[in-house]
Amino acid sequence: MIEKALSGDVRAMARLISEVENETARSEKIMREIYPHTGKAHIIGVTGSPGSGKSSLVNRMIASFRGQGKTVGIIAVDPSSPFSGGAILADRIRMQEHSGDPDVYIRSMGSRGSLGGLSKSTYEGALILDACGKDIVIVETVGVGQSEIDVVKIADTVCLVLVPGMGDDMQIMKAGIMEIADLFVINKSDRDGADKVAAEVQLMLKMFHDGTGWYQPVTLTSAETGSGLEELSDTIERHRRYLETSEEGELRLKRRLQWEVEEIVRRRIAKATELAWDRRQEESVLENLYRKETDPYRVAQDVLVSALDEVRSGQYV
């Protein structure tokens, strides 16, 4: 299946993503095998509040990249219900005009409990698209608030989409989401107040920029009319070249690799502890705790030790 996907078979590629998303027994093997094929695509993150027009903007971006002859993969994340675990994934409604194009692959994902704006498997999904030969991979986050910034960990270029009417300039000075943008996009520029938002963002950038490195550009767009889209794709290309020609590109890749390893470690420990804890509970440890025959710290220590024993025995490789 992996070979089929790498040679461009859409069904096989879609299946690989599902395996990884469902964390099946094969998922780790899949990621290890595709790993040598990754690293060619430019990963673009598109984030912003709900209803700011991210999907429509992505739809336009697909068209401009296709115009340049590039192949495009998209992963669009929408929130999963914290109650039922279900989700309505409706980002691709805005992109359906591209569904017949064999060089465009669109995949919707539910956030499945993750709170950073992506799902746990979004990055793996992007890597699979990269390995399967997509030149551009666009990751669209769920509609975010002020602090869902996971996209910055996985994207080469982060586009933050703002719209008129979002508040005064103090909103722009706040920490969190405003800090992760490589480029600002003021969408719905045909509406009143777009110029004002753009001016405020620009002023803030000027005030706080240290004068070195990348200067975040602000682009006014209208996903509805398509205005500003050419400028946006030029800006994205300029950022890609900046990453290639400065130390920043290498720095980011190394940071991403570090995060990736940490993430794998965290997941394995979580899995192992979960199993170890389940086993402990079968041994009526809760009953013992209830009767104060032991304490939670001692139990936690025991769980960790048996979890690490399991990791050592290599059950999770």
Binding site: A14, S18, N22, T24, G86, I88, A90, S99, G100, K271
Partner: protein, 137 residues
């Protein structure tokens, strides 16, 4: 710890513009814990088939009020077969006369739910159908 969600495309083929039924069923399947890829109105057969394959879904639910149910079911089922995706379940609802149901199921439709069907009936049926399909894999 594998949590294999049921994924479904809900689509409305053709030109009629009434999508309330499709939205009701999408929401009901969401509340039953499924991931519903909602593609909106006026989808072509090719769009529906391509979407189902790209999204690696277990099933396609289509809503048809126009009377063209024979045409769309046939085209979608054939389209899936052509792309080596016969295993994807196709079911539907809308205004479909009872008398037409046998010929649709013969064609390969998994189930047809008429107006007034409780949404839970549909979700329960789909869960069972997907479980059976996965067993066969």
């Amino acid at each position: 710890m594998s949590d294999r969600k049921i994924r479904v495309v809900v689509a409305k083929p053709g030109l009629d513009g009434h999508d309330r039924g499709a939205k009701v069923i999408a929401r009901a399947l969401r509340d039953a814990g499924m991931e519903v890829i909602y593609t909106g109105l006026r989808q072509t057969v090719d769009q529906i088939v391509d979407t189902a394959i790209q999204e690696d879904v277990d099933a396609i639910g289509i809503s048809i009020l126009s009377g063209a149910h024979h045409h769309y079911f046939k085209a979608i089922i054939e389209g899936l077969a052509e792309k080596d995706a016969k295993d994807i379940i196709v079911f539907g609802g809308g205004v479909i006369p009872e008398a037409d149901i046998p010929s649709l199921t013969e064609m390969g439709a998994g189930a047809i739910f008429g107006p007034g069907t409780p949404t839970s009936t549909c979700a329960t049926w789909l869960k069972e159908a997907v479980a059976k399909k996965r067993e066969a894999e």
